[in-house]
């Protein structure tokens, strides 16, 4: 395997809550790698820590109330991002690692034109002149498939539709040809037909530019279509990590399993009247009080005593090369307990 582009080790990002009721352990010991050119999907429901993970990589966590715990380690091309001086970090942000956020409405500055905002990174990082930056911005707009780029470059965000704003955001992120693009719910705020356009665009750009993508989403359908590998997060931890095809064929963590069963599927057989969806009982616990033992045990249909007392490590599923499919579940040591559901 190639040398990873990004290596995250034991990342812990905690928040001090306003209510003074303690510390929210939003991300609590997350380790993973991103290899050059691959798409890594991170899925999970709100509060699982996926967004905080992505923000921690570029140290965009508001401090206070948040802080990255000592002992955490984020290495990008051999350099620890957590110990870099602010100036060195800024040289990486937007240049080598770029981000696309969820909200195309609020992520653009309303008082600058699309061209100004796209070109800004090139001015900052590559010292381009305004004029050259504008030309590059037009090229980028063409690349992300915006019609009439020469005209659109001078438009303000409010003159663009939601889908076009998201394309502008992507153009902004890609202008310096980053090696890693972190896309945090890039299509969640968009309509289905526009989402399809943006996903198609991201796929094409990744192939053309050869960058790695971290795709953060709650939508299992989106990861299934785009990611090479998937990380499933729950309660601030990685609970399962596997190549996409394998994860969808054989989800081993009860949470992954339950999540997949509860998604309404367009490819499912026609529904029976008053048919029911599978559900995961209960709800995600608060980040200030994760349950002891396995954090999923209160909602898990298989849980036994050990799950309530002892926190499982990421165990190897034993398929393919070691470390390709890992699961945080004691079932891997006692597979007989995975009895069919009642």
């Amino acid at each position: 395997m190639t040398e990873p582009l990004l290596r995250v080790r034991d990342l812990k990002t905690y928040f001090v809550t306003e209510q003074g009721s303690g510390t929210a352990r939003a991300v609590d010991g997350v380790s993973f790698e991103v290899h050059p050119g691959e798409t890594l999907g991170i899925v999970g429901e709100s509060g699982c820590g996926k967004t905080v993970t992505s923000l921690s990589i570029l140290r965009l966590i508001p401090e206070p109330p948040g802080h990255i715990r000592p002992g955490s380690f984020i290495e990008f091309e051999g350099r620890n991002l957590l110990t870099l001086a602010p100036k060195e970090l800024r040289a990486i942000r937007g240049n080598q690692i770029a981000m696309v956020f969820q909200e195309p409405m609020t992520s653009l500055n309303p008082v600058f034109t699309a061209g100004d905002q796209i070109g800004e990174a090139a001015v900052v990082h590559q010292g381009l002149s305004r004029k050259a930056a504008r030309r590059r911005a037009i090229d980028m707009l063409r690349l992300v498939g915006i019609p009439d780029p020469e005209e659109r470059v001078d438009h303000y965000p409010h003159q663009l539709s939601g889908g076009m704003r998201q394309r502008v955001m992507i153009a902004m992120a890609l202008i310096c040809h980053p090696k890693l693009l972190i896309a945090d719910e890039p299509t969640t705020a968009l309509d289905v037909t526009i989402q399809a356009q943006i996903l198609e665009l991201l796929d094409r750009l990744q192939a053309d530019l050869g960058m790695a993508v971290m795709l953060i989403t709650h939508d299992l359908g989106v990861v299934a279509g785009s990611a090479d590998r998937v990380i499933v997060m729950y309660a601030g931890q990685i609970v399962e990590q596997a190549p996409t095809v394998e994860l969808f064929a054989r989800p081993l963590h009860p949470y992954s399993e339950g999540l997949m069963a509860s998604v309404p599927r367009i490819d499912a057989p026609p529904r029976q009247r008053h048919g029911r969806l599978h559900t995961i009982p209960g709800q995600v616990p608060a980040a200030t009080a994760w349950p002891p033992g396995c954090r999923f045990h209160p909602r898990c249909p298989y849980a036994w005593d050990r799950c309530r007392q002892e926190e499982p490590p990421l165990l190897d599923a034993g398929t393919g090369e070691p470390g390709t499919h890992t699961v945080r579940c004691w079932l891997l040591t006692e597979p007989r307990r995975r009895t069919p559901r009642p």
Binding site: V192, T193, G221, M260, S262, R265, G275, T279, I280, Q283
Partner: protein, 321 residues
């Protein structure tokens, strides 16, 4: 089939766009939010109304309840007197954060409709609030909680309990599960199905996600730019969609199956502005149908029956794509 409980005929709602301070010369513009929408829902059944943002589905919902007065068209749903109507028709909103008054406890929220309609007071109200909470799967101790102390799913359950408190026959679910996480969404969808069975409720289920609608709707209507472009029994619509917009919408939904060999029809461009919809068929500038021709640019296709009980508004609805 049982008789229609709710019948909407030729609903029209146009909004005036306010002229800006510096645009005095321009004529007032009209947003054609809803442009002649008709449908009927049988008692105890669910109509799924699907479309992308700005297609007018929420305006249909609110006009049906007369939260917005429509410009034209009629809503036949029993009593004409508004307050009596309010008891029979209820609505559950999308945003579980915005749809509850942040300064009222769950008890106050649920007691209010009982007081408005003089349904119950004191101990009787207390008993009914507890029963409602139980019915939507919440512990009665939640009565003392404020909305900010609840999770999104719990708030949505409170919103459903509030709608049920006046014992309606017809409930509009306006993107009621769209803002929820997958596992919570499944819980709430199941709850809605149970409630429908138990209380013989009639639903107008509004959503942008055809996959979610598939689990709850008996009939499905697809809207595009203020008009219904296809309306059919759910099974027919999902298996053999006739309108090219429905087909692209179905193909655009990401499927949680990495091996799915699917042809995604990626529509070009954006939904046009409802201020100036394209002439003829509203969908023609984005339409991927190979037979698309000048007729589409000129003549608005009527919603017509292309198969038994299956309606589509496309000149070429009979032909394969």
């Amino acid at each position: 089939m049982t008789a229609a409980l709710v019948q909407v005929e030729g609903l029209v709602k146009h909004f005036r766009v306010e002229r800006g301070l510096f645009r005095v010369g321009r004529p007032r513009r009209l947003v054609r939010a809803v442009d002649g929408v008709s449908f009927a829902i049988s008692a105890g059944r669910t109509l799924g109304l699907v479309g992308e943002s700005g297609c007018g589905k929420s305006t249909v919902a609110r006009s049906t309840l007369r939260l917005i007065e429509p410009d034209a068209g009629s809503v036949a749903a029993g009593p004409r007197q508004l307050r009596a109507l309010r008891r029979r028709m209820q609505i559950v909103f999308q945003d579980p954060y915005g749809s509850l008054n942040p300064r009222m406890t769950v008890r106050q929220t649920l007691a209010e409709p009982l007081a408005i309609h003089r349904l119950a007071r004191g101990a009787e109200a207390e008993r009914r609030i507890a029963a409602l909470l139980e019915e939507v799967g919440l512990d009665p101790t939640f009565a003392n909680a404020y909305p900010h102390e609840l999770s999104g799913g719990q708030r949505q359950r409170v919103g459903i309990a509030r709608a049920l408190s006046v014992e309606p026959e017809f409930v509009v679910l306006d993107e009621a599960v769209s803002a929820l996480d997958v596992s919570v969404q499944a819980q709430v969808l199941n709850l809605l199905t149970d409630l429908q069975q138990r209380r013989r409720l009639t639903y107008l289920f509004i959503a942008h996600d055809l996959a979610v609608v598939k689990y709850i709707a008996d009939q499905v209507a697809v809207m595009y730019l203020g008009r219904i472009v296809e309306h059919a029994p759910a099974a027919a619509l999902y298996q053999a969609p006739r309108h090219p917009y429905t087909r692209s919408l179905l193909s655009a939904i990401p499927v949680p199956n990495p091996n799915a060999a699917r042809q995604r029809i990626v529509l070009p461009g954006d939904v046009p502005s409802p201020v100036a919809p394209p002439p003829g068929c509203h969908f023609h500038p984005r339409c991927p149908h190979p037979k698309k021709n000048d007729l589409c640019r000129v003549e608005t296709p009527r919603l017509r029956e292309v198969a038994p009980a299956h309606f589509a508004a496309c000149h070429f609805a009979e032909e394969p794509m």
